[in-house]
Amino acid sequence: MRVNSVDDLNKLKERLQKEHQLKEQTDTIVTVGMSTCGIAAGARKVYEAILKEVEKRNLNIIVKKTGCIGLCEQEVLVEVACPGRQKILYGKVKPEDVPKLLSEHIVNGNVSAELVVVGKAS
């Protein structure tokens, strides 16, 4: 893939935005804060636990990594975005919280109140 011109860039951007919108409308996206602060707090293990749970339960969700949002105090941070709902940011997530968190939030539709940091308007 090569971006040779401004036109190329804009076309690529439009395509990516469309794809992203579509995904947001149809897929559940779980994002883990994976900067050094997150990783030091155990984000890698949480990330692996999520992947394992997704595979085990055959869940139809997209798992992503992102950088630090600044709430280092609350790491490990996991954001869950279900289509059509406000995004929920969970904090201080531990690997052992993952099965319950996913099944409560994504499967049962309950927000795991004790872990919630904040909701984000989608």
Partner: protein
């Protein structure tokens, strides 16, 4: 007996018993009776008339379960581990969750530089492009001359985010003006202040913004080769940067003939070995050249004679990541944020005795109070605010009376602190101010390169005096010598490290002199930190002789019979304070 799963079945419906029995039968058939316990629960109820089934430990809620569904649930959920989607109870209730923009931590922030951090995947260039990435570069390379770029950055009023706050556009102009053909561009990512991690966060969370900013700067000054000098202690940042550079090269956004404009730019990563002084630009260049990281006198400035003797522009990470924003949204937008002389936003790392530690981005001109109390949530454990150290070891310590100081380059420097790279350490009344000065000076003393006398010898002597003060062994004359050394070091050290090393001493002397004098004259440390100046005592009237303190004392310094008042042997006591923490009767006091 440990069960792998528990199944709870609501008992209020007609077919509940049948369902329970069916579960037990299906489990037995699969030899799972010993692993899964089925429980009928009268408490499990909702307003529907359907049977509810919950599978633990996941807590998966199934509703409207019929007896015929049971084999399917057992097969899918209990054996294969998958949810039975059609039976899931899924009703959302988010109303109790506070929304992001209502949270104080975010409400007063203005996240421009950090806007992508925590939202995009830093390892995917597509995420960056989708969120307007490389648009500024496209505009610059196809529609602007280098002079126009510099003019725009100058107009925006962007100042260096690495410390001193020199006007970025002006710095670029100096370098662009040099007639020399070969020029270099350097990104200073040698973030070394204790407790500061703004740059790391940016490099890890949005690496492409730095690449884009650097490419724009390279075009402006006429450089075709750039270096990112980054600490080797930032392995993840290095990896993400390398990955980002590779992706940008693959897309043709770095390298030869970018956007067909004829402009080419190559970017190399140089890993530093972690010397604090290598954040100083001339030392940094020496280090890239393979020499000992030692500063040299300026002039010549890097813009005249920098890396390999060629004109060189150096900015830090945050400065570069401001650049695409300025070019994309325009200087007018950018300069509308901040104060008259300090434009845009600044990222700070909140640390110390503050509730919300972390990384925040605020508009210039915000007050310290807003950062500490509103965004930071105030001092931990409801203690009293005492001081805030701004700008790391080169910065200063500001007292309570300065809480309403607007945070901009000039106000901070007038108050004896500096913007620095953006470290913000909050202290409460349990912090000893002399100890704080000692802490920061210890850092700079260890990190001095040793080249110039005031920094090599002076910081060591200042530290020795501070140590004597905290031991109660100093005189007022020592305080005079300390001030003289601090003044001379500030005035005559060769580089920024030495010139700013005395700032923590000078600012604490300015605002907390009485605390120094207390240590010297009364041998008293009001915060109870300086162990040589404190004593633990047991108040006999309050001591019940429970021996809790005796058990916790690591040196066996507490003596006494059970149920009789105890005593601390002063000579054996190492003043760790463990006894005081343990005592439930407030019988141990510190003086």
């Amino acid at each position: 007996m440990l069960y792998r799963n528990h199944i709870l079945i609501s008992s209020h419906t007609a077919d509940a018993a049948a369902i329970k029995e069916r579960f037990e039968r299906e489990l037995a058939a699969r030899k799972l009776s010993g692993a899964v316990k089925v429980i009928s629960s009268p408490d499990l109820i909702d307003d529907s008339e359907e049977t509810l089934v919950v599978v633990y430990p996941e807590g998966t809620f199934y509703r409207g379960v019929k007896a015929d569904d049971v084999p399917h649930i057992v097969e899918e959920h209990l054996i294969k581990g998958r949810f039975v989607k059609e039976l899931l109870r899924c009703e959302y209730d988010d109303s109790t969750v506070p929304s992001l923009d209502r949270l104080d931590f975010f409400r007063k922030q203005q996240r421009l530089v950090l806007r992508r951090c925590g939202s995009i995947d830093p390892e995917d260039i597509n995420d960056y492009i989708r969120t307007d990435g490389y648009q500024a570069l496209a505009k610059v390379l196809t529609a602007m001359t280098p002079a126009e770029v510099i003019a725009e950055v100058k107009k925006a009023g962007l100042r260096g985010r690495g410390g001193a706050g020199f006007l970025t556009g002006l710095k670029w102009e100096f370098c662009a003006r040099e007639p020399e053909k070969v020029k270099y561009l350097i990104c200073n990512a040698d973030e070394g202040d204790p407790g500061a991690f703004m740059d790391r966060s940016l490099l890890e969370g949005d690496p492409h913004s730095i690449i884009e900013g650097m490419t724009i700067a390279a075009y402006a000054i006429g450089a075709s080769q750039g270096y990112i000098y980054i600490r080797a202690e930032y392995p993840l940042a290095v990896r993400r940067l390398k990955n980002a550079i590779a992706q940008a090269e693959e897309y043709g956004l770095l390298g030869e003939n970018i956007f067909g404009s004829g402009f080419s730019f190559k970017l190399l990563i140089k890993e530093g070995a972690g010397a604090f002084v290598c954040g100083e630009e001339t030392a940094l260049m020496a280090s890239i050249e393979g020499n000992r990281g030692m500063p040299r006198p300026r002039p010549p400035f890097p813009a005249q004679k920098g890396l390999w003797g060629k004109p060189t522009n150096i900015n830090n990470v945050e400065t570069y990541s401001n650049v695409p924003l300025i070019l994309l949204k325009g200087a007018d937008f950018y300069s509308s944020i901040g104060t008259e002389k300090s434009k845009g936003t600044k990222v700070f790392a909140l640390a110390g005795r503050i509730k919300n530690t972390g990384l925040v981005e605020v508009p210039m001109g915000i007050t310290l109070r807003e950062i500490i109390e509103d965004i930071g949530g105030g001092v931990q454990d409801n203690r009293k605010f005492k001081a805030v150290q701004i700008g790391g070891p080169s910065g200063g310590c500001l007292p309570r009376s300065h809480l309403d100081l607007p945070v901009d380059y000039d106000s901070l420097s007038q108050a004896g602190a500096i913007m620095g790279s953006g470290g913000l350490v909050v202290m409460d009344e349990t912090t000893c101010i002399v100890d704080v000065a000692k802490f920061f000076l210890k850092f700079t003393t260890a990190e001095s390169c040793g080249k110039c006398v005031p920094c090599r010898e002076g910081t060591t002597r200042m530290l020795e005096i501070l140590e004597a003060i905290t031991r109660g062994q100093a005189t007022l004359h020592d305080l005079e010598v300390l001030e003289r050394l601090a003044r001379v070091c500030k005035n005559t050290a060769l580089c920024g490290l030495g010139q700013t090393a005395p700032n923590p001493v000078l600012s604490t002397l300015r605002y907390f002199r009485e605390e120094y004098e207390e240590h010297i004259l009364q041998h008293k440390c009001r915060a109870g930190v300086c162990s040589d100046l404190i004593q633990y005592q047991i108040v006999a009237e309050r001591c019940v002789g429970c021996q809790a303190c005796v058990r916790v004392c690591p040196t066996g310094a507490i003596r006494g019979e059970k149920k009789a008042p105890h005593k601390i042997e002063v000579l054996d006591c190492i003043k760790c304070g463990a006894c005081m923490e343990k005592c439930r009767f407030d019988a141990i006091i510190r003086s």
